[in-house]
């Protein structure tokens, strides 16, 4: 870890602020709440969680107000060490996550003890996961929100994504921690990721900028998410939508979910970090309740659209809000023993024989011959190969630089060893879990913990 600010780790003067420390930041981890309302007329993007429903459910699970600030994690989550006891919940994308090596489940709240390390690894289905902490993430409120505005570089944690060494403050929990842990949402609140999405849209405001055939193309075709998909918007590929005349309009407001169509006819869905105004006509607007499902799509996923009337769209919104209003009363209280069993151990540290050892995390997985695989956490392009066969690597040493969703990130050696085999070259595409290299871990040379050296 780098540059831990000890000042930040202390409780602040106003209230009992506990903290957690970022050991590994993940691909793009930001502090988000429900966004910055009321400042679009100053050109300020709304920001906030792109999957707002997942954020709100996470907050309900830990007893927070639905709009409390939480962490939004993208594709690959962070590793966090908690400085004090806390209750947390994961929602959104399906993730592989562990607490001190034992697996933890999404869509239920659980207790984290001081000193424990929560490791959120790759999103296996869906793209964005949320981590709410009882009490909320405590960052300054700027223009009415704690959300990170990445484009204008303010809000959230210093206006940027988290980095290793950052220390996050947490607000005072809304109740005794033991009462907040072990709560689950009913089954119907768990989204199904990895299935084709049909987003409901209201046509307009500029559907008359398109030909009748163009509107039909939009509603009857299947589109695919391109790699140009981020918090600002999703650029889609598929049949081009024909404009009536020009593809330019006098710049006007871009609502959340606005589907703008530039000259090439390929639609772009505008999301949380969208610019407030733009000059392309918007054929339709995705209804609020469906935004999160769009934002969970990954590059390559399929998406189609279905038109609904404004009245239908508002009925859908009503149903969602009524459900969310009732959700706190409908939480299922998980049996704490059952829950501990899922962790593989009870709080006292006794391993339950019927369940065996907790599943080992891929970070430390070595086969009996002493080989460890270095896998890609997500579909990506190999941008750089930093090692060669025969070279020694320390645990945590970066071995590959991958590129996905316009971002670069490193894949490090899960443990120390000698590189036995490099299976990819620069420019190769890799899938989730694909082995990129193997390490001979029986070789003791260089078996240091990379982290302990810093």
């Amino acid at each position: 870890m780098i540059g831990v600010n000890r000042e930040d780790a202390r409780p602040s003067a106003h209230g009992s602020h506990l903290s957690s420390e970022v050991l590994r930041p993940g691909l793009l981890t930001t502090v988000q709440d429900r966004g910055r309302s009321g400042y679009q007329k100053f050109g300020v993007p709304v920001s906030g969680a792109v999957d707002a429903i997942a954020l709100r459910v996470a907050n309900v699970l830990v007893g927070n107000p639905q709009g409390a600030a939480a962490l939004e994690m993208t594709a690959l989550g962070p590793e966090l060490r908690f400085a004090a006891d806390a209750v947390v919940a994961l929602t959104g994308a399906e993730v592989e996550a562990s607490l001190d090596g034992g697996p933890v489940l999404s869509y239920q709240s659980f207790l984290v003890r001081a000193g424990q390390v929560l490791d959120v690894r790759s999103c296996t289905r869906g793209l964005r996961a949320y981590l709410a902490v009882a009490g909320g993430i405590d960052v300054p409120v700027l223009l009415g929100s704690r959300s990170t505005c990445l484009v204008a570089r303010f809000g959230g944690f210093l206006g940027r994504a988290l980095l290793a060494g950052d220390v996050l403050r947490v607000g005072s929990p809304p109740g005794p921690l033991q009462d907040l842990a072990g709560r689950q949402v009913p089954e119907e609140w768990r989204p199904r990721h990895g299935v084709p999405v049909t987003a409901r849209v209201v046509l307009g405001p500029q559907e008359d900028a398109f030909t009748e055939a163009g509107r039909r193309t939009f509603l009857e075709s299947e589109y695919r998410v391109t790699p140009y998909a981020d918090r600002m918007g999703y650029r889609l590929d598929g049949p081009g939508i024909a404009h009536r005349n020009s593809a330019d309009i006098i710049s006007d407001w871009i609502p959340l979910g606005g589907v703008q169509v530039p000259g090439d006819g390929k639609p772009i869905i505008l999301l949380a970090d969208r610019q407030t105004t733009g000059g392309y006509p918007k054929i339709a607007t995705v209804v609020g309740p469906d935004i999160g499902r769009v934002a969970q799509l990954r590059p390559g996923d399929a998406l189609s659209f279905r038109a609904v009337s404004v009245a239908q769209a508002q009925r859908i919104a009503h149903e969602l809000e009524a459900g969310l209003a009732l959700l706190p009363a409908r939480l299922v209280l998980g049996d704490s023993w059952t829950y501990a069993a899922e962790l593989g151990e009870v709080p006292g540290g006794v391993v339950l024989p019927s369940l065996g050892r907790p599943q080992e995390s891929p970070r430390t997985l070595a086969d009996p011959e002493g080989h460890a695989a270095v896998r890609s956490p997500m579909p990506a392009l190999v941008a750089k190969v930093l090692i060669r066969t025969g070279e020694g690597a320390t645990a945590g040493q970066p071995l590959f630089v991958l590129q996905a969703m316009k971002m670069e990130f490193e894949v490090a050696a899960p443990q120390a060893g000698r590189v036995a085999d490099v299976r990819v070259r620069e420019g190769d595409e890799v899938g989730v879990g694909e082995i990129m290299a193997t390490l001979d871990t029986s070789d003791l040379v260089g078996r240091w913990d990379h982290r302990s050296l810093r």
């Binding site: 009321g38 307009g204 407001w253 609502p255 209804v287």
Partner: protein, 254 residues
């Protein structure tokens, strides 16, 4: 003419006036925005005035599209003609040319003018703020003299320094933050065009009049050094790393 009321999803309404850029139409948009903010319609979340239309975000749990349209029409009918405040003149001190305005020679060449004439023409014009958009604090200004219309760069710069004053096609404006950009950069201001610590985070508002006031490099550097509390230094590169805050200088120690 009567505006059109267009849906923008389940929680947006667009009031569209005529399809043209004119101060008169823009004034109608802004008057309605001010009227609606004063009317405090339950469920109305925020209004976003642009060139010729007004975006309205609302809470569909509180008010329906039709209900909101009725209320907006009602406010529009009873608008006080004097609702628009007298325009404020906002002056933007700008150092033109040199490392601060690397495209000034191109703009001058394109216009068939000397650099000094470009500066005079650009700074003597009073611009109208049509709207704030695109990025936090970016003001769309109208009124650039036709002589100064200059095509954008063939490919955008990856980094345009914060505070850059530039011309793109028939438009001129100032970049509130370091961003990519394809406009021709002719100068730079030290005025902070977006400050998220202020409740009104931008110095320019729709309807304001804006004038760029030429200053010398010395004046620019003095203002910058006052703002960052250090000695003035001639800038070596075109990227200003540590941009200043206008009018909110930290007090010198001692």
């Amino acid at each position: 003419m009567t505006p059109r009321f267009l849906p923008a999803g389940d929680r947006g309404l667009l009031v569209e006036f005529e399809n043209a850029v004119s101060i008169e139409i823009n004034n109608q948009v802004r008057a309605l925005a001010i009227g609606l903010e004063a009317a405090r319609i339950p469920g109305l979340i925020e209004v976003i005035p642009t060139y010729r239309s007004l975006g309205i975000e609302y809470d569909p749990l509180t008010i329906t599209f039709d209900g909101l349209e009725r209320q907006v029409r009602d406010v529009a009918r009873h608008l006080d003609p004097g609702i628009l405040p007298a325009p404020t003149l906002v002056q933007i001190p700008t150092v033109y040319g040199g490392v601060y305005g690397p495209d000034l020679p191109y703009v001058a060449h394109h216009a068939g003018l000397s650099e000094a004439e470009v500066i005079r023409l650009h700074s003597q014009t009073v611009y109208h703020v049509y709207m704030i958009g695109f990025s936090a604090g970016f003001a769309y200004l109208g009124g650039l003299p036709e002589r100064l219309h200059t095509p954008r760069l063939p490919s955008p710069r990856i980094k345009v320094p914060k505070g850059s004053v530039a011309i793109g096609g028939s438009q001129t404006g100032a970049y509130p933050a370091e961003t990519p950009g394809g406009w021709r950069i002719i100068g730079r201001t030290f005025v902070n065009l977006f400050d998220p610590l202020e409740e009104i985070p931008t110095p320019m508002q729709p309807g304001d009049q804006v004038q760029f006031v030429p200053i010398s490099e010395e004046e620019f550097l003095r203002a910058v050094s006052r703002a960052i509390g250090g000695p003035a230094q001639i800038e070596k590169e075109t990227t200003w790393q540590d941009p200043p805050r206008a009018g909110r200088e930290p007090r010198a120690e001692g």
